[in-house]
């Protein structure tokens, strides 16, 4: 029995068209063309309890809109959505107590007060018992290593520290479903990793179902087995992340370094497509299945090979390729 079920979901927004310029602005006071933008079109998927699913797609693809529908902020234009057996849009208390939404670009913590005050407010909002509150707070603040900043006003915290506090605030009521909208946006690599590790550990322990959106492939590849790729409001892939990479990453790259004598362009061109060339280092793109044999033949040739590496194509490249396909 899936915990999240979305069937043929569509969401359209109203907006007005206005040509640039002062005159057009004045004109638009009296006459505006009302338009509908379809942010999500006929999207269907279902998610089982305990899964972490990565939601991928370029800006404006409809990821956040989908999360907003799932959390009951937006009313679906058409289609059926059920989470934990609830219709999110009804905004029932029983549902609200079982999920949380974290948006990396927004903050729910009180800016001028220490994070602890916001935690206590959430404790009261979600009616968490004193004991549960103390236990969960202790556990999460230890995991995230933020015990020493709980009584510092939030506005004095770094972005990374603040995000950690946001996560704690969202998880105090132990939600069964968690929507994370770009939780690592703007963070440095260390902070990104901290947040990622925390989410991983938290999910392993509490079996919380998580939908995560991120533009950082590292987040997705570390956390999500399954990804749903959405572009221009439509799902273009739903399945295993590794398989996706295999399917789209049709090539591998060979990075070959040469000794002091170096090499000529013509000598290496025959092994595959030259992505980068200088006499001492070449990057050669070859088909996946030919990667091994190409490497072997480079090694057995009389070129002064010093070292050879076989690399997977960068996941970012794969995703870029998929996003671009969607555009056509």
């Amino acid at each position: 029995m899936p915990i999240i079920e979305v069937k043929n979901l569509s969401k359209a927004y109203e907006y007005y068209k206005k040509a640039p310029g002062l005159w057009m602005t004045i004109k638009s006071i009296f006459w505006r063309e009302k338009l509908l933008a379809e942010a999500v079109k006929d999207v269907s998927f279902s998610i089982e309890e305990g899964e972490i699913v990565g939601f991928l797609g370029p800006n404006g693809a409809g990821k956040t809109t989908t999360l907003k529908v799932l959390s009951g902020i937006l009313y679906p234009t058409s289609g059926a959505v059920r989470v934990l057996g609830f219709d999110p849009y009804k905004r029932q208390k029983e549902y609200q107590k079982q999920f949380a939404l974290v948006m990396g670009q927004k903050n729910q913590l009180w800016w001028e007060l220490p994070a602890m005050e916001s935690f206590i407010l959430n404790k009261e909002i979600y009616e968490v018992s004193d004991q549960d509150f103390a236990e969960r707070l202790e556990e999460m603040t230890t995991l995230l290593d933020i015990k020493n900043i709980l009584d510092v006003p939030v506005r004095k915290l770094s972005l990374g520290q603040r995000m950690k506090c946001e996560l704690v605030a969202a998880l105090l009521h132990s939600p069964r479903v968690l929507f994370l909208d770009e939780p690592t946006i703007g963070l440095d690599v260390v902070a990104q990793k901290n947040i990622r590790d925390f989410i991983k550990k938290y999910n392993a322990k509490s079996k919380t179902t998580i939908i995560l959106t991120s533009h950082y492939m590292e987040d997705i590849s570390q956390l999500c087995q399954r990804v749903i790729i959405i572009n221009l409001g439509k799902i273009i892939y739903d399945g295993d992340f590794k398989e996706l990479v295999n399917r789209y990453a049709t090539h591998k790259t060979l990075v070959v370094t040469f000794n002091d004598r170096g090499t000529q362009r013509t000598e290496v061109e025959s092994f595959g497509e030259l992505v980068e060339y200088n006499p001492h280092r070449c990057v050669i793109k070859v088909l996946r299945e030919q990667a091994k044999s190409a490497a072997a033949s480079i090694l057995s040739s009389n070129l002064p090979v010093d070292d050879i590496l076989i690399n997977e194509i960068d996941v970012d490249d794969v995703i870029r390729q998929i996003f671009n396909q969607g555009k056509r």
Binding site: K11, Y13, E14, Y15, A39, T65, K68, S71, G72, I73, L74, Y75, R91, K93, Q96, K97, F99, A100, L101, K106, Q108, W110, E112, L113, E117, S118, I120, L121, N122, E124, I125, Y126, E127, P153
Partner: protein, 265 residues
């Protein structure tokens, strides 16, 4: 209910951390009061009575009326509501088991309380300064009625502010509307002059609107221009208005949300 109490407490703490914010209203307030007193002092140099108001009655009208304003003031709560809407903070309240309307109410109570203390302090100084020109007469029954009116006026003014703020659901920003409605409310509540100065038709309109309960009515009661019985009825009407405003606010909220969802902030 504990969640709303925590909201009051948090906001109170926030205000204590940023005391100067609302304190800075005081300077402007003081000037407004002084301007009105100057104008009336000049007028009363030539005449003894204006529309049934003697000089000390008029000065009392201004000073005690403003005291009433301060006791019920929410310091631009409408702008907070406006910001909550166009910045999308309202979404937070749609995903959590907490009501936005109750939240903003609690928030306002926490927000006004620090400023309340300073405004009472300032008004005590004003009263002390003009003590020779003021009327002091208050029997316990009137005092009780006035206290009721302070409470009701406070609630009523929060409703005004929240409704004005919610216009942002449709217009995003409310700067101009906010200003105009503010002046409108001030006018019809009698802040600028006693409403008896108005022609009968305008006075009838005032009586049909809820605004005069937050300035004109309580000062009339204080000055003895309304009997205790009339005062009690006025309080009943005011409470009825609160009920009406409650439903209007809810209606506006549901309608506004529909707009909010459509735009998808």
């Amino acid at each position: 209910m504990k969640k709303y109490y925590t909201v009051v407490k948090n906001e109170l703490q926030r205000q204590l951390a940023f005391r100067l914010n609302l304190l800075s209203y005081r300077v402007g307030n003081l000037l407004e009061i002084v301007v009105q007193i100057i104008v009336w002092t000049v007028i009363f140099q030539k005449v003894d009575v204006v529309q049934g108001y003697a000089r000390n009655e008029m000065i009392s009208y201004v000073v005690f009326g403003w005291l009433f304003v301060f006791l019920t003031e929410n310091y631009g709560l409408e702008n907070i509501v406006e910001h909550n809407i166009f910045e999308g903070k309202v979404s937070e309240f749609l995903v959590k088991p907490i009501s936005y309307l109750k939240y903003i109410f609690s928030f306002s109570l926490g927000r006004m309380s620090v400023a309340l203390v300073s405004s009472i302090g300032m008004m005590l100084l004003v009263i002390l300064f003009f003590r020779d020109q003021l009327i002091f007469n208050l029997d316990p029954v009137r005092a009780l009625l006035l206290l009721g009116m302070v409470g009701a006026g406070l609630v009523l003014k929060i409703y005004f502010a929240v409704m004005i703020g919610m216009i942002a659901f449709w217009t995003q920003r409310i700067v101009g509307i906010d200003y105009s409605l503010g002046v409108f409310i001030k006018f019809f509540s009698g802040v600028y002059f006693p409403l008896v100065f108005l022609p009968p038709l305008a006075l009838a309109i005032c009586k049909a609107l809820p605004f005069m309960y937050v300035f004109y009515v309580p000062t009339q009661l204080y000055l003895g221009k309304l009997s205790v019985g009339q005062g009690a009825w006025a309080l009943v009407f005011e409470l009825a208005w609160i009920v009406v405003m409650y439903f209007l606010t809810k209606l506006m909220w549901t309608r506004g949300l529909r707009k909010y969802e459509g735009v998808g902030i």
